[in-house]
Amino acid sequence: MPSLNHYLVLSAILFSIGTAGVFIRRNLITILLSIEIMLNAVNLTFVAFGRALGSADGQIIVFFVMTVAAAEAAVGLAIVIGLFRHRESLNPDMFTSLKW
């Protein structure tokens, strides 16, 4: 049987993959997808700890995380559509108007 450590290590690997994706990709949609990978890694941690503690709270927090992720995806994609209309590009380096 896999132990709690196995699930936590898998979650850490997935979270690192998501972080690397946010840093190295130059595409707004792929960056949002990497954020989803990170959220899923955290969900896996919550479920594994909830199982280890014998509590249902882990799954309830996963429910809330998914709801917030849905809201974040909706607003984020709306912003992406707006940005794409302005510049005809999805490269985040194109959107530096707020940089000083």
Partner: protein
């Protein structure tokens, strides 16, 4: 154990391919495969509720939203020519820092996997959907209602942001 390693391998490999793809459509489809593997892991963790909403909400709703936007924007490919020269993370400082962080992560993961007392899960199962629903509508009732307001605000915000026009 074999099932765990198989599902974990699917999740990690498809996540790696998500950030390795040039075409965002392939990224979205591979991420759905990763979510399917995670759903199988939730089943192994005795969490059927989490497994089902992972498929329904994530793979069914959020990823379809992503796919819809990718197709709406006609999926522009990432330009790679100027990336390698101008990428701010390609300088020596950030590269060295990233290497240090990666080494620390690998060492810590090795220590975690080699830890002596691997705590196996207890046999008692407490995660029936009935318990989850009862807790959700008693202890977490306020958070649940606030979540509905959040969804409403996100919907209004998405409509306002994506509206063509008056601004």
């Amino acid at each position: 154990m074999i099932a765990f390693y198989a599902l974990a391998a699917i999740a990690v490999v498809s996540s790696l391919l998500v950030i390795a793809q040039r075409n965002p459509i392939y990224s979205v489809l591979l991420l759905i495969a990763s979510f399917g593997a995670l759903s199988g892991l939730y089943v192994m963790l005795d969490a059927p509720f989490a497994a089902v909403i992972q498929i329904i909400v994530y793979a069914g709703a959020i990823m379809v939203l992503f796919l819809f936007v990718v197709m709406l924007l006609n999926a522009p490919h990432e330009e790679t020519e100027h990336d390698l020269r101008l990428h701010p993370l390609m300088r020596a400082g950030p590269m060295g820092f990233g290497v240090v962080l990666a080494v620390v992560l690998v060492v810590e993961l090795g220590l975690a996997l080699g830890a002596g007392r691997a705590s196996a899960f207890s046999a008692a199962s407490t995660s029936s959907v009935r318990d989850i629903g009862r807790t959700l509508f008693t202890d977490y009732a306020f958070a649940f209602e606030v979540t509905s307001v959040l969804i409403l605000v996100a919907m209004v915000g998405a409509v306002v942001l994506a509206r063509r026009g008056s601004r």
